[in-house]
C-alpha cells in the first residue's frame, strides 16, 4: 500500500535527480547579453567625470584616431571560410578584402580550439569572424562568446551574430557583432567561455589582438536627422544617422505622455516575453551604378530599445550603403503591437468558432475542414491582425501548402479572413500559436540625406 508520504518522497527524489539542461548556460548568457549595460555604463561615466584632465587628453587622441580612419581605406586579404556565414555588406566587404586579419587562436584543455580569423570595424560596430574547432558538434556548440575587453574598464558586448557548422560537424564558423571599441582602445582581448562538461567547463579562452583602425571601413554619412514623426500622441524623434558600407545606425528616442504609453514599448515583463510595441521603419537608398540610378530598400539587420533619461531610446541597424550614394529616405511604416500568446489548441473537423485569445474576438478559428486528405483551417480576425500558426498532426508538424488572406465584411465590419491549407489530416491535431500582432500603418517619410 502506497501512502501519500511515499508519493511525496518519490517525487522529491525525482526532483533531486533533475539536472539543469546543458543549454541553460548559453540561454542565461544570451539573456544577459540582451540587457543594456546599465551599471557598467554609470560606473564608467563617473570615472570619466572624475578624470577630466585625462578625458581631455583622450578626446584629442580620439579626434586624431577618427581623422585617420576616415581618410584611409584599406585593401587587404579576404578572410577565407566565411562565404556561407557572412551576408549582405559584410560578405561584399570581405570579398573585397577589407577588414583586419587577426589569425590568432586559443586552445582549450579539452582540445577544442577557437581561432579569431579577423575583424571588420566601422563607426557602428566591430564584426568578429571566428571559428570553433572540436571533435564533435556537441562540443563545438557549448561555447558562448562573452565580450571583447579593452582597457581597464572597457568591455564590449556581443549584439548578435550567425554561425554555420561544417559538413563534418567539427567546425563552426561565426560572425558576431560587437559594440565599436572606443577610439583609445587599441589592445583588445576576445573572450569566449566553454560550457562543455569536463575539464574545460567554465574555462575562458582569451585572444589578445591589436586593433588597426587604419583598416576600419570609411564613414560615408554622419548627420543629425532631428526629425519627429508624431502618431497617436506619441513622438518618434529620429536624432542621428551614421553610415558606412558596412552598416547604418539610426538612433533616436520616443517621447510618451504617460506611464501607460511607456509600458507599451517597455513592458514590465523582463526579457523577451509579454507584449510590446515597435515602430517599423524602412531605409531606402538611391545610388548610381554603371551610370544608372538605382533605388533600393536597405535590409534591416537589428533593432534595440531601452529606457533612457529623455524617454525611450531606440537604435535601428541596417546593412551598409552602396557606393555613389545620392539620396537616403527613411519611411516610418507602421507600429506593431506584438503579443506573445504561446498557445496550443486541439482541433478536429468539428471545430467551429474557437477564440485563439480567450475572452477576445481578436482571432477566431472559424472552422477546420478535411479536403482531399489535407486540412484547411479558416481564421477570422480583426482587420489589423498578423499572425502565424503551425498544425501538429499526431505529433508531427504538418507542411503548410498554402496560406491566403483577404479582407471580408462581416456584419458590416471589415475583418481579416486567413485560410491555411496543411498537408495531411489526422485524429489528434493541434494548432500552435506563438504570437499575434496588431499593425497600424503610419506611412510617413523623411529625407535624411541628399547629394545636391
Amino acid at each position: 500500500m502506497r501512502s501519500l508520504e511515499e508519493e511525496l518522497r518519490d517525487k522529491k527524489l525525482d526532483i533531486e535527480n533533475l539536472e539543469a539542461p546543458e543549454e541553460l548556460g548559453r540561454r542565461l548568457s544570451a539573456a544577459l547579453d540582451s540587457v543594456e549595460e546599465t551599471n557598467n555604463k554609470s560606473f564608467e561615466n563617473i570615472w570619466i567625470i572624475r578624470h577630466k584632465i585625462i578625458a581631455a587628453v583622450l578626446a584629442f587622441i580620439v579626434f586624431l584616431g577618427v581623422y585617420n580612419y576616415d581618410v584611409f581605406a584599406y585593401y587587404g586579404k579576404k578572410i577565407l571560410g566565411y562565404d556561407e556565414v557572412a551576408v549582405g555588406s559584410l560578405k561584399e566587404l570581405n570579398e573585397l578584402g577589407k577588414g583586419q586579419e587577426i589569425n590568432k587562436s586559443y586552445k582549450f584543455k579539452n582540445g577544442a580550439e577557437v581561432i579569431l580569423d579577423g575583424v571588420i570595424l566601422d563607426d557602428n560596430k566591430l564584426v568578429a569572424m571566428y571559428r570553433i574547432k572540436g571533435i564533435s558538434e556537441g562540443l563545438i556548440s557549448e561555447f558562448s562568446v562573452r565580450d571583447i575587453k579593452g582597457g581597464l574598464i572597457s568591455s564590449y558586448c556581443p549584439h548578435g551574430g550567425s554561425g554555420k557548422i561544417s559538413d563534418d560537424k567539427k567546425t563552426v564558423s561565426w560572425v558576431m557583432d560587437f559594440e565599436t571599441p572606443r577610439a583609445f582602445d587599441k589592445n583588445l582581448t576576445f573572450n569566449i567561455l566553454c560550457w562543455a562538461k569536463g575539464v574545460s567547463y567554465g574555462e575562458k579562452g582569451k585572444i589578445s589582438f591589436k586593433l588597426d583602425r587604419n583598416k576600419a571601413i570609411k564613414r560615408m554619412v554622419k548627420c543629425n536627422v532631428n526629425q519627429i514623426v508624431e502618431f497617436q500622441g506619441i513622438k518618434y524623434n529620429f536624432k542621428t544617422l551614421s553610415a558606412s558600407s558596412l552598416s547604418v545606425m539610426l538612433e533616436g528616442n520616443i517621447t510618451v505622455n504617460s506611464e501607460k504609453d511607456k509600458k507599451l514599448f517597455i513592458p514590465d515583463t523582463p526579457s523577451f516575453r509579454g507584449s510590446m510595441r515597435t515602430l517599423k521603419v524602412e531605409l531606402w537608398e538611391t545610388y548610381i551604378k554603371d551610370g544608372e540610378t538605382v533605388t533600393k530598400r536597405i535590409d534591416n539587420s537589428g533593432f534595440n530599445m531601452g529606457s533612457g533619461i529623455d524617454g525611450i531610446n531606440f537604435k535601428y541597424e541596417f546593412d551598409g550603403l552602396k557606393a555613389n550614394l545620392q539620396k537616403l529616405i527613411l519611411k516610418a511604416v507602421k507600429t506593431e503591437d506584438m503579443k506573445e500568446i504561446d498557445r496550443t489548441i486541439y482541433v478536429n473537423s468539428q471545430t467551429r468558432n474557437v477564440k485563439v485569445v480567450p475572452e477576445t474576438e481578436e482571432l477566431i478559428i472559424r472552422d477546420v475542414k478535411e479536403q482531399n486528405g489535407n486540412t484547411v483551417v479558416t481564421f477570422i480576425g480583426e482587420k489589423d491582425i498578423a499572425f502565424g500558426t503551425a498544425l501538429d498532426i499526431d505529433g508531427m508538424q504538418a507542411k503548410t501548402i498554402e496560406e491566403t488572406s483577404k479582407i471580408v465584411r462581416i456584419n458590416g465590419k471589415e475583418c481579416l479572413e486567413k485560410i491555411y491549407k496543411f498537408e495531411g489530416c489526422g485524429k489528434k491535431m493541434s494548432l500552435l500559436f506563438k504570437e499575434i500582432t496588431h499593425e497600424t500603418y503610419i506611412n510617413k517619410q523623411i529625407t535624411i540625406y541628399e547629394n545636391k
Partner: protein
C-alpha cells in the same frame, strides 16, 4: 573566486560574475523553477527572466551575503509570473473525476502526484511542493512565498489534510 567577491563584481555590472554565481548553483535554481513550472522550457524561461532582473537590481542589494536567497525569491516571482500568464491563455486541463482515486491504497500503482496536487489551492500547492519536494524549512518557504511562517504551516497542514481526505490513504 568566492561568492562574496563575485557578488561585488556583479554589483559593478560584470555580467560574467553574475552568470558564474548562478551557474555555480544551477541545479538548485533549476529544480526550484521546475517545481513551480513543471516543465523544462518554462523553468529555463523563468531563469532567464530572473537573471535579467538580478542584473538590473543587484546594485540595490544591501547585504551581499543574502544574494542566493534574494535570487531565489526573484526566481519564484518569475515562475509565478509565467504561470499567471499561461493560465490566462491556456485552457487549464480539468482534473478528471477520480483521476487520483485509489492511488494511495490497494495497489503499488504510482499516481501523478503533481496532477493530484492540482486539486489544492495554488498557495497550498506551493507550500507542499517547497516543503516536500525541495525539502525547505518553514522559514525559507515563508521568505520565498512572502508570507508569515504560521501561514505556511497552515497551508501545508490544510493541503495535506485535503489530499488525505480526498484519497482516504495513509498519512
Amino acid at each position: 573566486m568566492d561568492s562574496e567577491q563575485l557578488v561585488k563584481r556583479a554589483k559593478k555590472g560584470e555580467k560574467e560574475a553574475l552568470l558564474t554565481l548562478i551557474m555555480e548553483r544551477k541545479n538548485e535554481f533549476y529544480r526550484l523553477a521546475y517545481v513551480y513550472t513543471e516543465n523544462k522550457e518554462d523553468a529555463m524561461d523563468a531563469m532567464e527572466d530572473m537573471i535579467v532582473i538580478l542584473y538590473k537590481e543587484i546594485s540595490k542589494l544591501k547585504n551581499d551575503e543574502v544574494f542566493y536567497s534574494w535570487s531565489k525569491t526573484i526566481l519564484v516571482n518569475c515562475c509565478k509570473s509565467i504561470l499567471r500568464k499561461k493560465n490566462k491563455v491556456v485552457i487549464i486541463e480539468e482534473l478528471e473525476e477520480g483521476a487520483c482515486e485509489g492511488g494511495f491504497e490497494g495497489n503499488e500503482r504510482k499516481v501523478d502526484i503533481l496532477r493530484c496536487l492540482k486539486m489544492l489551492s495554488e498557495n497550498q500547492q506551493e507550500a507542499i511542493k517547497l516543503k516536500y519536494f525541495m525539502d525547505l524549512d518553514y522559514e525559507t518557504i515563508a521568505k520565498l512565498s512572502n508570507v508569515p511562517i504560521g501561514t505556511v504551516k497552515s497551508r501545508v497542514s490544510n493541503g495535506l489534510k485535503k489530499l488525505k481526505e480526498a484519497f482516504g490513504g495513509e498519512y
